[in-house]
């Protein structure tokens, strides 16, 4: 059924269609509307056989989900940004224990300075935590990925993060095709845990493991992610067969045939990027886009296959490894090992800075002329950066950085170039 609804509402309804049994709710922008929607569905009696728990922190949200999942219940929560960081210890615990919790991450920047707007710093910081990480390009894909995530996670006994851009997707009203309950029931079987806390068959979960087996337990997590590399495209194909649309999978190419330049990105920016590439194509440039839907497991072979015919690769990413550069581009570089092509990292859109077609076109023109810096910060305001550096060189007590920069900007409003 087609609906014109907010992205968060679409995700809430999709999660409800998956018949979750325990939902842990803690507010944090821009995720909050999702758990609000679920709370309403539970309280209103539309989602039955489900416990909706208002917890006191994100750490508790993940911990309650751990307990519920270990006791055999399909468990869900959602978070973003600081909330994701606050639950980090429990995030690693959930994957280490092999509990197939599904969590939405409404991607948002991490402070300081505190910032509620979108980038990918939060989930990228959990790159190595053992969770599967799927990135949605649109609200429809976000909705669909949740249905796929429960199936994937439960088959492998691994937790899954569905990452969707905060505000850009979570707060955007778009038309989505909402599946019927019967269709989802036919796609997603009831949860059959591999391990469960059951008085009829007592087990101890979470024993201390020393050097004799720790590496093996960790390797098994990797082995499962390797299995996920196979299952993710299969599940996407099953999904397409039943629901009639492409969603998920490992990667998707756009106009990459004969492309000399391919831009790699994740999430909602793919839309703007495709529009930009269309215009560049109209001008005769041989350029395409590679969207990555599965960031963990990282599809090395699929990325290599998609990029190996190109002359240059531009990784456009909303994340930043301070002291190195790109996060996604480091992984892309591994995929391209041994290939001779020009590689560029473009860090853009941090803290919600708009990524415009104009800026993208300008940057990509520079890339195609091989005049781009290997590491480029798109639309960085060098004026205020340099002024702060001069200030710090001139005086020891230069004051709080963010406040200085805001004073130099002269306005507190988000600046769009």
């Amino acid at each position: 059924m087609h609906k014109q609804i907010e992205g968060s509402r679409a995700v809430a309804e999709a999660v409800a269609l998956c018949r979750p049994e325990v939902i842990c709710a803690y507010p944090i922008s821009p995720q909050t509307h999702i758990v609000e929607g679920l709370g309403e569905l539970v309280k209103g009696g539309e989602l039955t056989r489900c416990e909706f728990i208002n917890v006191e922190s994100e750490f508790a949200a993940m911990s309650v989900a751990i307990g519920a999942s270990a006791a055999g219940a399909r468990s869900y929560t959602a978070t973003a940004s600081q909330g994701l960081l606050f639950m980090v210890e429990a995030i690693y615990n959930a994957s280490g224990l092999g509990l197939p919790i599904v969590m939405t991450v409404a991607n948002r920047a991490i402070g300081a300075p505190i910032n509620i707007w979108n980038d990918h710093s939060d989930s990228m910081s959990q790159r190595d935590c053992g969770w599967i990480q799927l990135f949605a390009e649109s609200n429809q894909e976000a909705l669909d990925l949740h249905i796929q995530a429960f199936k994937l996670g439960e088959e492998l006994s691994m937790p899954v993060m569905v990452c969707m851009d905060g505000f850009i997707l979570t707060h955007a009203y778009e038309r989505v095709d909402m599946p019927a309950q019967a269709e989802v029931d036919a796609f997603l079987p009831a949860y059959e845990p591999r391990q469960v806390l059951d008085p009829a068959d007592p087990v101890s979960i979470g024993a201390m493991v020393g050097p004799e087996a720790f590496m093996e337990v960790r390797y098994l997590a990797h082995a499962k992610q390797t299995m996920a590399l196979e299952r993710i495209p299969q599940i996407a194909a099953e999904f397409e067969q039943r629901f009639g649309r492409k969603s998920g999978g490992l990667v998707r190419t756009y106009r990459c045939e004969d492309a000399e330049t391919i831009v790699v990105a994740l999430g909602s920016v793919l839309g703007t990027l495709k529009d930009t590439v269309d215009e560049l194509r109209n001008d005769g440039h041989r350029i395409g886009v590679l969207g990555i839907q599965s960031f963990r497991p990282f599809p090395l072979a699929a990325v290599r296959a998609a990029l190996q015919g190109a002359k240059r690769v531009v990784v456009l990413e909303k994340s930043f490894s301070v002291g190195l550069g790109g996060v996604v581009s480091t992984d892309v570089r591994v995929a391209l090992s041994g290939l001779h092509l020009h590689g560029y990292t473009v860090v853009a859109g941090l803290g919600g800075r708009a990524i415009t077609k104009d800026s993208l076109a300008r940057t990509l023109h520079e890339a195609m002329a091989d005049k781009l810096q290997p590491l480029t910060f798109m639309d960085l305001d060098w004026r205020i950066v340099n002024r702060q550096l001069e200030r710090e060189a001139a005086t020891r007590r230069s004051g709080p950085i963010a406040e200085n920069l805001l004073r130099d900007v002269g306005t507190v409003a988000s600046k769009v170039h």
Partner: protein
């Protein structure tokens, strides 16, 4: 054949088990006890926590007819009971993290509710560090939501598993690895720490109780009583630690008894925020008798001692006795 009557603990007020009617007898005296924390674990000699956990969990198992799941915080109890690939637990048991046992308990309880397993009950347990410090947020959240979990704190008054560091349950003057017995003001600070049973009461949860491993039948009865109720319940058990307290292994029960008889550890029950019962002290014991056998308080005594510390600790005991009405002749 009639069994001869025996007074098992000569010189105490504890009567022998066989004097009691069968339904009042200790869970541990029954052949049907569940041995939930089975033998072979690696606790130290004289470990109060192992003793307390054994009695508490077996009592909870009997009260629930074996339909029990346990969540455990990181700490001594977790480490000594489950060195991979061994486990001493004979019930479904999960260890997640140091600070989240109460929340994991909430999750299990919610799963049981949604699955219609009202017969399966949940306990969460941890040491004082995992309860009064790092797990306190999750504990308070569990209380506030009145989740159907009995939380048991085994309080040995410091972080013993990491090598005896101060927790918010460490008593004033006690020497720990982070409150060394050096300087003008040796040991843990006076005027710090928190009383979690009282804080639990402030949540107005159905049941709060304290107990010690010196009164094991009382401990069992409190667990049984707690399992007869629903909602958030809290049981705080004083469990002496020979290693951390610098005490002899055979003195664990004696020290627990002295903690109660001095008034330093009031033993009481409360329902919905109000004290409903206290275990009375027949003879007030000076705190010195409790403190002297413990090396963690050694700096109080001797020629270079700190008699003013002794006075302050005695004043605390006296305040507890007044506040909780602990003395029998006060009635």
């Amino acid at each position: 054949m009639t069994a001869p009557i025996k007074f098992y603990q000569t010189g105490t007020f504890t009567v022998g088990n066989r004097l009691l009617s069968p339904e009042q007898r200790s869970v541990q005296s029954s052949l049907e006890r569940s041995n939930s924390l089975n033998s072979g674990h690696r606790a130290c000699q004289g470990c109060g926590e192992a003793l307390g956990a054994r009695y508490a969990v077996d009592a909870a198992m009997r009260a629930t007819k074996g339909q029990l799941i346990a969540a455990n915080a990181t700490g001594c109890l977790e480490v000594f009971s489950t060195p991979y690939p061994e486990t001493s637990w004979q019930l479904p048991w999960i260890h997640s993290l140091f600070g989240n046992a109460a929340a994991v308990g909430t999750g299990i309880s919610a799963a049981m509710k949604v699955k219609g397993r009202s017969d399966v009950r949940v306990i969460a347990q941890g040491g004082d560090g995992g309860t009064t410090d790092i797990g306190f947020g999750c504990l308070s959240g569990m209380f506030e939501r009145n989740d159907d979990v009995l939380y048991i704190c085994y309080d040995n008054e410091a972080y013993m598993n990491t090598g005896v560091q101060r927790s918010s349950a460490t008593p004033p003057a006690a020497r720990t690895a982070t409150t060394m017995a050096v300087g003008a003001d040796p040991g843990a600070q006076f005027g710090q720490g928190k009383n979690v049973p009282l804080i639990a009461m402030a949540h107005e949860i159905p049941y709060v109780a304290t107990a010690t491993v010196a009164d094991l039948r009382d401990l069992e009865a409190k667990v049984e009583r707690a399992m007869g109720m629903h909602g958030a319940r809290y049981l705080h058990i004083l469990v002496p630690c020979p290693l951390g307290w610098g005490a002899a292994s055979q003195d664990t029960i004696k020290l627990a008894r002295l903690a109660r008889e001095t008034g330093l550890f009031p033993v009481f029950e409360a329902e919905r925020g109000e004290v409903t019962a206290v275990t009375k002290i027949r003879h007030r014991v000076p705190v010195e008798e409790y403190l002297r056998p413990q090396k963690r308080f050694a700096h109080i005594f001797g020629s270079k001692g700190h008699p003013q510390m002794l006075e302050r600790i005695q004043a605390q005991a006296d305040r507890n006795i007044r506040r909780f009405g602990l003395l029998e002749d006060d009635q």
